[in-house]
């Protein structure tokens, strides 16, 4: 959907805590620290907040609006919690709430303790969980490895080509002080790692970390008067796959291309005009799939596209310039959004992509649904 003049919204503040291990604070306390940073970044007092959208980290009970309210000390006109803790879905909800007139300045918060609480991700992913568990198919690495092995079979994709997802992101992470994994990793280092679920290795799977992130979204007329350059939402799109039958489409996720089609037609631009891409990377396979779905290369061509270095520092399409979930931290795409905003504002220092004006922020909620946003410092006219 295109956001039109008069009803547009913008991200006007972002905040984050350190990422990694934060043993001495609750997930809510971590989220509050990020929220305070985001409000300071926007130059807003909390009294300006009339909307609150909190995120419950997946697999936990943390972070509902009712648990955040007492710590933030606010009674916003509109408050709610999104259950599955995802950045893009929350951002779209904020956009809708502003356009509907429920609120004009919305704070979005997220905090997780998945590392120190040792949250188990070794569970069936994507529905029919009892059948998957009986088949020993636990952890997202299982279905992701099936998807990429099929990709290899159909298109000749190699393990080395896939490895460039993780290697490129590690190169970016080395320039990001927040990143958990900053040790240099060459493609040979990658290939020398043992399999976890073949053909996937440790470096193909998300970091598990504690951390918080928050953003502030306002209506465009308010955004103009604030401290930082507003980052506008050009268009938003989603697609669900909640019927979720056990068919090949569930793993290959061709429906991601439907999000891309609606997203680009909404903004009136194409993939060639995207300067930087933030593709949620619970596994490296999701990056491979999204490069094709969002039109950066042809169907089946993501392997050669990656191996040519397009996503690396200096490449044609920098991807996950903070290191992503594979190297920076695991915050369910919130830190991807934080990084996208800061890249568009030109604040990323050594890893700044020169002249970046349009960013794609895309994510999926496992095999259930996907959401994407085109972001720019230039609003739609």
């Amino acid at each position: 959907m295109r956001l039109r003049p008069g009803t547009q919204v913008a991200i006007v503040g972002v905040g984050a805590t350190e990422q990694g291990e934060i043993p001495d604070e609750s997930a809510e306390e971590i989220a509050v620290r990020a929220a305070v940073a985001a409000l300071a970044d926007a130059g807003l007092d909390k009294s300006a907040v009339d909307g609150l959208i909190t995120c419950k980290a997946p697999l936990t009970t943390h972070g509902t609006d009712e648990s955040m309210g007492p710590l933030l000390g606010i009674n916003p006109a509109y408050s709610t919690t999104l259950d599955y803790g995802m950045g893009a879905f929350s951002l779209h909800l904020a956009s809708m709430a502003i356009q509907a007139g429920l609120a004009s300045t919305i704070l979005l918060t997220y905090g997780t303790k998945s590392r120190t609480e040792r949250t188990s991700f070794s569970r069936p992913i994507g529905g029919s969980s009892d059948w998957l568990r009986l088949a020993g198919l636990v952890h997202v690495a299982g279905p992701a490895s099936m998807a990429v092995r099929r990709h290899m079979h159909l298109y000749g994709t190699t393990e080395e080509q896939l490895g460039w997802v993780s290697v490129a992101q590690r190169e970016w992470a080395q320039m990001n002080p927040l990143a958990v994994f900053r040790t240099p990793m060459s493609i040979d280092d990658y290939l020398a790692q043992p399999y976890v679920v073949a053909p996937l290795r440790r470096a193909d799977l998300t970091v598990i970390s504690d951390g918080g992130a928050a953003i502030v979204v306002t209506a465009e007329d308010r955004a103009r008067d604030l401290a930082k350059t507003p980052v506008h939402l050009l268009s938003i799109a989603q697609q669900s796959a909640i019927r979720n039958e056990q068919n090949p489409d569930k793993l290959m996720r061709p429906w991601l291309a439907e999000i891309a089609s609606r997203l680009y037609s909404g903004a009136g631009i194409g993939p060639d005009q995207v300067d930087v891409a933030y593709l949620q990377d619970g596994t490296s396979v999701w990056v491979l799939q999204m490069l094709e779905a969002y039109g950066f290369c042809g169907p089946g061509a993501a392997g050669p596209f990656l191996a040519a270095g397009n996503t690396r520092p200096g490449g044609r399409l920098p991807v996950n310039t903070h290191g992503g979930q594979l190297s920076e931290s695991y915050t369910h795409n919130w830190m991807h959004l934080y990084e996208a905003v800061r890249q568009l504002r030109g604040e990323c220092g050594d890893r700044q992509v020169p002249g970046a004006t349009v960013a794609l922020h895309a994510q999926t909620h496992d095999f259930w649904k996907g959401a994407a946003t085109l972001l720019s410092t230039e609003a739609n006219t």
Partner: protein, 145 residues
Amino acid sequence: MTSPKPLPDLDDPLTEPFWSATREGRLVLPECTNCGYLQWPPVPVCPQCQHTGRRWLEVPAAGTLWSYAVYHLALDPAFADEIPYAVGLVELDGVGRNMYGIMTGDGSALKIGARVRGIFVPATDQVTFLRWQLDDASQAEGEAT
């Protein structure tokens, strides 16, 4: 010492016929009694027509390997004694449905597109699992030609 393998709930009327059949070495799938839609996995309401009646249709335990994952790490400790083990997604012959299942062996001989057939492996007096193996007959035939 590994933790025990997960077992199905045999008291669940939605899936009990499946497990009764595997005990007899048969593969059955639920079919909607209103629209004929074949379900896998079983769901309490037909996803096509929202009817709740179903009957169980026997289908051949044979198919083609669509893809597979080879576990080198026991992400579920219950399967630690089988590492490395492979889970396949099998396209069942003639019914247009796909089924996840453990493949026999360590996964090294598997190939996408290979012919596979079901084998029925008793786990307890009550539970027989359906696992999958490469169809030796078709492989041997392939080598001979």
